[in-house]
């Protein structure tokens, strides 16, 4: 996993609440058995005017010029500004894969759906919760100022505006540690393999019907 320490980047404002993972990456692209190749189909139904199919040459498709990510001023954006309950719905990890591959490193919103929030950390994508008022201030600034950039510092847990105003955000210590160091959490868990084995022995004794039935 790619580590995340500090990041400064162009902000794209996606002013919709309850953006679901079907919107982030539609189902027809989930048939892939790979982890890559989803970036060109991020927000497919909003970005393009036709119906996208897997293995298509996306450069030939008609673009929805109204959609925020298609506007020239937001090209190269790496900070996504979103509204409440971002990433609700399906558990598909293809959603953070698509966002990351498109070029986003962080998403700032008043709230995230639980599974999406969790999946993002596994893929070097930092979801940041700020208050609704703070997010709305950022929306106003990002829309008003072309080339608007924010700086995110995970170690310090801060988001800094171009005018120097700083917001702080909360993040779990474990997730922060993994993301700062780009750690594989399977490897970390396996450091406790002995403990898991011990637990299993006692647990099996107490609940024998949970073992070997399949």
């Amino acid at each position: 996993m790619k580590a995340f320490t500090q990041h400064q980047g162009l902000v794209a404002p996606l002013d919709r609440a309850n953006v679901d993972t079907d919107q982030i990456i539609p189902k027809q692209f989930l048939k892939s058995i790979k982890r890559t190749g989803f970036g060109p189909n991020l927000f497919d139904e909003w970005r393009y005017l036709d119906e996208g199919q897997p293995d298509q040459d996306n450069s030939q498709r008609p673009i929805n010029t109204d959609f925020v990510l298609n506007q020239p001023r937001y090209q190269g954006a790496s900070v996504l500004l979103a509204q409440e309950n971002f990433g609700c719905g399906s558990s598909r990890e293809h959603a953070p894969w698509a966002l990351e591959e498109y070029g986003f490193r962080t998403i700032i919103a008043p709230s995230f759906a639980d599974i999406f929030y969790n999946n993002s950390f596994k893929n070097g994508l930092l979801p940041i919760e700020l208050t609704a008022d703070e997010v709305n201030e950022l929306f106003a600034q990002a829309e008003a100022v072309e080339g608007y950039q924010l700086t995110v510092d995970l170690a310090a847990q801060t988001v800094t505006r171009p005018d120097g105003v700083q917001y702080s955000f909360e993040v779990d210590a474990f997730r922060k540690h993994c993301l700062l160091n780009g750690l594989d959490d399977i490897g970390l868990t396996l450091q406790d393999a002995e403990l898991i084995r011990e637990f299993e022995v006692g647990y099996k004794k107490a609940n024998p019907w949970l073992f070997g039935a399949l």
Binding site: N18, S91, I115, N118, F174, A213
Partner: protein, 477 residues
Amino acid sequence: MAGKTLYDKLWEMHEVKRRDDGSSLIYIDRHILHEVTSPQAFEGLRLAGRKPWRIDANIATPDHNVPTTKKERDGGIAAIADNVSRIQVQTLDDNCDEYGILQFKMNDVRQGIVHVIGPEQGATLPGMTVVCGDSHTSTHGAFAALAHGIGTSEVEHVLATQCLVAKKMKNMQVRVEGKVPAGVTAKDIVLAIIGKIGTAGGNGHALEFAGSAIRELSMEGRMTLCNMSIEAGARVGMVAVDQKTIDYVEGRPYAPKGADWDAAVAAWQDLVSDADAHFDTIVEMRAEDIIPQVSWGTSPEMVLPVDANVPDPEKESDPTKRDSITRALKYMGLTANQAITDIKVDRVFIGSCTNSRIEDLRAAAAVAKGRKVASNVIQALVVPGSGLVKKQAEEEGLDKIFLEAGFEWREPGCSMCLAMNPDKLGSGEHCASTSNRNFEGRQGNGGRTHLVSPAMAAAAAVKGHFVDVRELMNEGA
């Protein structure tokens, strides 16, 4: 000290280690796999040179993109017309064969939707932790299991370590007291709950459904309820154990037997929240107030009683909500204040992990019996949740009722719930659907989904528009 909630108990039973940073290692009893979210996990395992920790904790079946027409199914995997779907189903086969994981293959009679077959086979048991790379894993919470959806990285994590890294959530209780009116189902109850608390209402919470109206529900009704807790934002939904739970599990193929059964039943008695347990959030509703529900918009919280009119954005003061309503009305092709019963339907879908079990099919068949699908309805699909549900329905003659009424009777799978297979809506088409998500494009690019109960879907099919199913029940067949 306050007592424990069901969630507190399940959490403590499975906590292997509490780390200094506040996260915990949680032991996983049952891991269910399907073709869409597992291939990258197996690949990751291979690349890291790791092996599955405990093969007998895993069970698999293909469901999301299997075709549902008999013709395409009869040819086996090789006959799946969609090239990418075929590779994905084949990859699940290959992975399960390689590691010796129990799989109900595409044309096994036990194949079906992951959240139907787990309980059906007794592979889901009370007190278990159950995970699957699918958000509707909350379904299994109907058995007082701690069950939730996970992403593909976590699928790999569970395969490799039999554990998940998790942080304890808050406790939420939704209490529905009283008796629902006749014709009102678990689906209507859960849609009404989502309408009340919103699609983010349960974020960060494990949700326990309680109250006399919940206890009154059958196990299948409770599965419908827990299935959609994720649509209220709660990745975990649960119902406490009672005699119905135990009766449902007894005798299932993978349920414990003999002395194990007796010991298990004794242990399961404790899978209830203590009377003095503390919940961080409590929501109370009266069952008598719930009537059949129909979603009108593009989020499950955009749902109303069938006798209501769709909202008017002009009457909404919050600008974000007003924008959402305006956008949803436009996408759905509806006008403000339009009566729900004036919405015509183009297609009908009865199926999905929410509503494809035998009681669902019986409820729909009871409405379809002796009636015909309306002429404006292009297609009405009935897709059983598993091969065994299909077989049971055929033994009861439900297939004939549906076919005579003009419905199509299909092979089991997820089908039009998410339209990964060929079953999908055309752009602009309205669908009365027993599934769980009415997101933009969910059932097909440009498709317009209205979430309803199986009986309400059948009623919409025969009338050609939404109608209170209780009117049909009163007029008789």
